[in-house]
């Protein structure tokens, strides 16, 4: 029974004696542990790159290879305007074989050349540079607000479990989770900047060179909308995990040991309830990075969601490809970070890697 992990099956969980090996694994130190971590990270990074490569194939096939993009872009003009057809064909290298085009595109991606936009005839990187930064900024600010808010709400709720404050909080959270983001956004606009109060600007007016946060007041409503849209999920998951943890033996022991309730909640319970929270936060952040089109539209926020919609409408293939790849990359990176954090917060998983 030196390897309890190898046993699997149902019968081993309640058996302290079998919970690990007789000698019990000593944490390895120094170079060996660091090497194990490096290997783990290398493996995960490799998988991330593999994922992105598969995504790149899908994106390319979906945008460039299905049907004739030039015909799609020009629509009725296709027959009439031969000069434009030739120009677009040149830009898309439509005369080259598909594999060749894909490899060229991929090579460009890797070297930072995202191609030329079909509509503006400017380099894609130039077009999307500021909107990517704007969106990431919006997501980051929202995350900074959302994470403590949702953990706080979850702790409050768990502390009053199944009593009135908990019920009220849960009802509100469920209501918020049920409302689409744009409804929340419109309600907030109505409440805070048009019908009721006139406290905050309803739309973001930014100069082409500056960023929205040059006017912090204009950031408030988009951030608030996103926080309200995402926190309910996070708070509900964290609350559910906290309740489970609060019922555990080690929380009971902490109380019987005479540890004050605040410390029990913060140190003994939260530390063990954080991992599902990390995972759901990662999913939500990735979702925000790619899917906040509606919110960006409501507030006229110059981010990638809005740009993506415009690009799709205009059949601007290189732009769509570049934005899709960026969104995919955000998903992969955020999930990688979340997995890393989850392992760091789970001693059992952490020590399993380094041994």
């Amino acid at each position: 029974m030196t390897s309890a992990q190898g046993l699997g099956g149902a019968e081993q969980i309640e058996l302290p004696e079998r919970a690990d090996a007789p000698g019990a694994v000593a944490p390895p130190r120094g170079r060996f542990g660091a090497l194990a971590w490096a290997l783990w990270l290398a493996r995960r990074l490799g998988l991330a790159v593999l994922t992105l490569w598969l995504v790149s194939i899908l994106v390319f096939v979906a945008t460039a290879a299905l049907g004739d993009p030039v015909r799609a872009i020009l629509g009725r003009d296709y027959a009439a305007n031969q000069a434009r057809v030739d120009q677009l064909n040149g830009l898309l290298n439509a005369d080259q074989p598909l594999v060749q085009r894909y490899l060229n595109w991929l090579g460009g991606l890797l070297t930072g050349d995202l191609g030329t936009s079909l509509t503006g005839l400017r380099p894609v990187s130039e077009l999307i540079g500021s909107s990517v930064v704007n969106t990431l900024g919006l997501v980051l600010v929202s995350a900074v607000v959302m994470i403590p808010v949702s953990f706080g709400v979850a702790m409050l709720s768990a502390n009053y479990r199944r009593r009135r404050p908990d019920t009220v909080i849960q009802t509100i959270l469920l209501g918020l989770a049920g409302l689409p983001e744009f409804v929340v956004g419109i309600l907030l606009v109505a409440l805070l900047s048009t019908s009721v109060f006139h406290l905050l600007p309803a739309v973001t007016i930014s100069s082409p060179t500056g960023h929205p946060w040059d006017q912090p007041r204009a950031m408030v409503l988009p951030v608030l909308t996103l926080v309200l849209a995402v926190s309910p999920y996070v708070a509900r998951i964290v609350r559910a995990t906290l309740l489970e943890v609060l019922d555990s033996d080690y929380v009971e022991l902490a109380r019987l040991k005479g540890i004050p309730e605040g410390v029990v909640m913060r140190k003994h319970a939260l530390l063990n309830a954080i991992v599902p929270g990390i995972q759901v936060i990662a999913l939500q952040l990735a979702y925000l990075a790619g899917g906040i089109v509606v919110v960006e539209s409501v507030f006229n926020y110059p981010g990638i969601g809005k740009q993506l919609v415009d690009a799709v409408n205009a059949h601007d293939v290189p732009l769509v490809q570049a934005l899709s790849m960026i969104i995919a990359a955000v998903y992969v990176v955020v999930n990688l970070v979340a997995d890393l954090l989850s392992i760091l917060f789970t001693p059992r998983a952490r020590t399993a890697i380094s041994s």
């Binding site: 309640e14 302290p16 019990a24 009971e252 022991l253 540890i259 410390v263």
Partner: protein, 601 residues
């Protein structure tokens, strides 16, 4: 192990703790008590055993000493007197101060009671750090001394470990060291050795006893197993259905048990010296709210008369310090420890070998854990595999059951070699060897009904289907003494013992010739263990089923098995007929196992 030569000082010196007229009820139903009429005195330096089956309220009494009840229960009446004050009447800030510092608690199942995210060094000193007791260095030194006292390493590397990096016995001793660090005056231990093997259990019990006596700590030791407290307690209180049924000095309780319930508990304990026909206690401990009127035990009592159902007995004095809650305490004669003794299994009996294991070597990955094991099992014979945790006994049984496939050597079944892993075996072989898992709380699918669980093997092996299968399920449930009424239940409505019976019925449904029983009673109360063992023995005799019985409980082996294989570090160190091995153990290892086994005989 211990003696009574250090007679505990009488209730003087203001030490110890006293529970007086305690009643704890359900928050939702104020008329229902969880425990009632509890009076207990713990003197300094004294260990009191609090014994009872699951559901008797013993843990509730234990935590009430710290002014704590689990959600759903509340203390309704009574006092817990500690140093001139009533713990239950103190404001909560003061109760919290008492906890840990003055009255400490050692949890059941420490593997789940230590926080998995905090290094043990920090957990040990956490309380003192929060209270600002001592300096950082003195606390660290205290933690090191405490770990040394319980026989654990105390270097930095050990202090930096997490709970999952320790073995079960180590975790338990960490919990003990943690409880002792603030030098409490009262200690509540809640089944702290359940699930540990006998050697580790012996070590933990000895450590605890020494610490209590040397530090003058008053300890309450909560357990379901009278045999455990026989070695360490000075006094014993037996609880049933929320009340103390009998309380007295250890020697009195074990020599002259006067309550039928105490006797029933004692009767369910297997002996090391002689095989016994074990018996359980019929029925199950009634939950709060469904306890019968009159004497709470009368519906399960072998000595009950009509008056028992009508009159609620008081706790009455039988001798000095010996009190019994039974109307007939004086009338039921003396208890005889050798009641139910049966001859050991006959070693000369003709054996028709059904399972033959030779040169078995098992590895997990690159680590070999079992070496050159060989033994056989005959038809209608029980062979026990005994050893400490990590000795490879479960590993061997998993290979036989087809659950582990990385092994070398041969496992022959009726002369044919068995395949590695169940996928390589024929349906007939899989049907004829059935595995029963240790923990019935985890081994039964909670979404299925009992009927579905038991029917599954019949359908799988084409034994029966449709109404015929249903009839057979009813029959099997009858055989395992559950009755067809449980067929529609999901397992969460059953107690541990009942679940294990369902698991046995499931195994029997396949009509096996060999049952592999992996520590199947270790998660159960002793009284339930008795009835499960009786059931298995009957199945062996009436159906001729052979069993490979994995356990760390040598006393149980004496009563159930004909032959025994003693395993240490993956090798068989001693084997033979049970009576031979246990009466004349040749190996040190076997002798040590025997010496550490809790016993009442």
């Amino acid at each position: 192990m211990t003696t009574l030569d250090t007679t505990p000082p009488p209730e003087a010196a203001g030490g110890g703790i006293t529970v007086a007229d305690l009643r704890i009820g359900l928050t939702a139903r104020p008329d229902v008590d969880v425990v009632d009429d509890i009076d207990l005195v713990l003197r300094p330096g004294e260990v009191v055993g609090l014994v009872g089956e699951s559901g008797s309220g013993k843990t509730t009494v234990g935590t009430s000493l710290l002014g704590y009840t689990r959600a759903g229960a509340m203390i309704e009446r009574g006092k817990v007197l500690f140093e001139d004050s009533d713990v239950l009447a103190l404001p909560w800030q003061q109760v919290r101060r008492l906890r840990g510092e003055e009255i400490a608690y050692v949890p059941q199942d420490p593997a789940s009671a230590l926080n998995p995210s905090i290094r043990i060094g920090r957990q040990i000193v956490e309380l003192m750090e929060l209270r600002g007791l001592g300096t950082a260095e003195s606390r660290l030194q205290g933690a090191r001394d405490g770990l040394a006292e319980v026989g654990l390493p105390n270097d930095d590397e050990f202090l930096r470990r997490y709970a999952h990096q320790l073995s079960g016995g180590q975790v338990q001793r960490v919990a003990l060291a943690m409880a002792f660090l603030p030098k409490p005056k009262v200690l509540v231990l809640d089944e702290p050795t359940t699930g540990l093997d006998v050697t580790t259990q012996g070590m933990v019990l000895q450590t605890m006893g020494e610490l209590c006596r040397s530090h003058g700590v008053a300890a309450l030791y909560v357990t379901h197993d009278l045999a455990v407290v026989a070695n360490i307690a000075d006094r014993v209180a037996v609880m049933y259905a929320g009340q103390v049924a009998e309380i007295g000095d250890r020697d009195t309780i074990f020599a002259h048990p006067s309550h039928p319930y105490t006797r029933a508990l004692l009767d369910s304990i297997p002996h090391l010296r002689q095989a016994r026909a074990l018996s359980g206690i019929p029925g199950r401990t009634p939950a709060p709210g469904s306890r019968p009127g009159g004497c709470r035990f009368h519906d399960r009592c072998a000595f009950a008369v009509e008056a028992c159902a009508e009159q609620e007995p008081e706790l009455r004095e039988r001798g000095p310090g010996h009190e019994v809650r039974c109307l007939r305490a004086g009338e039921i004669g003396d208890w005889d420890i050798s009641l139910g003794t049966v001859p050991d299994a006959d070693p000369q009996r003709a054996r028709e070998v059904i399972l033959d294991i030779a040169d078995l070597g098992v590895s997990y990955g690159r680590t070999q854990v079992v070496f050159d094991v060989g033994f056989d099992v005959a038809r209608a014979e029980v062979v026990a595999l005994v050893g400490e945790s990590g000795s490879g006994k479960t590993t061997i049984s998993r290979c036989v059951g087809g659950l582990h496939k990385e092994w070398t050597g041969t496992i022959g079944f009726e002369g044919r070699p068995l395949g590695h892993g169940s996928r390589k075996r024929s349906a007939a072989d899989r049907k004829r060897i059935q595995y029963i898992f240790q923990n019935p709380y985890l081994s039964l699918n909670p979404r299925l009904t009992v009927e579905q669980i038991v029917k599954r093997p019949m359908e799988l092996f084409g034994i029966a289907s449709g109404t015929e299968a249903t009839d057979r399920v009813a029959e099997l449930l009858e055989q395992v003494a559950l009755g067809p009424a449980v067929m529609r239940y999901q397992t969460n409505r059953l107690s541990g013992g009942e679940r294990q019976r369902v698991a046995i019925a499931r195994a029997l449904a396949a009509e096996p010739d060999l049952l592999v029983c992996d520590e199947i009673t270790s998660a159960l109360d002793v009284s339930v263990q008795g009835s499960i063992v009786a059931l298995l023995d009957e199945l062996r005799r009436t159906r001729g089923i052979s069993m490979l019985f994995v356990t760390h409980n040598l006393a149980l082996v004496r009563s159930i098995a004909a032959r025994v294989q003693i395993l240490s570090a993956g090798r068989v160190v001693e084997s033979g007929p049970v009576a031979d091995v246990m009466d004349n153990p040749r190996e040190d290892y076997t002798q040590r196992l025997l010496a550490n086994s809790p016993r009442i005989d």
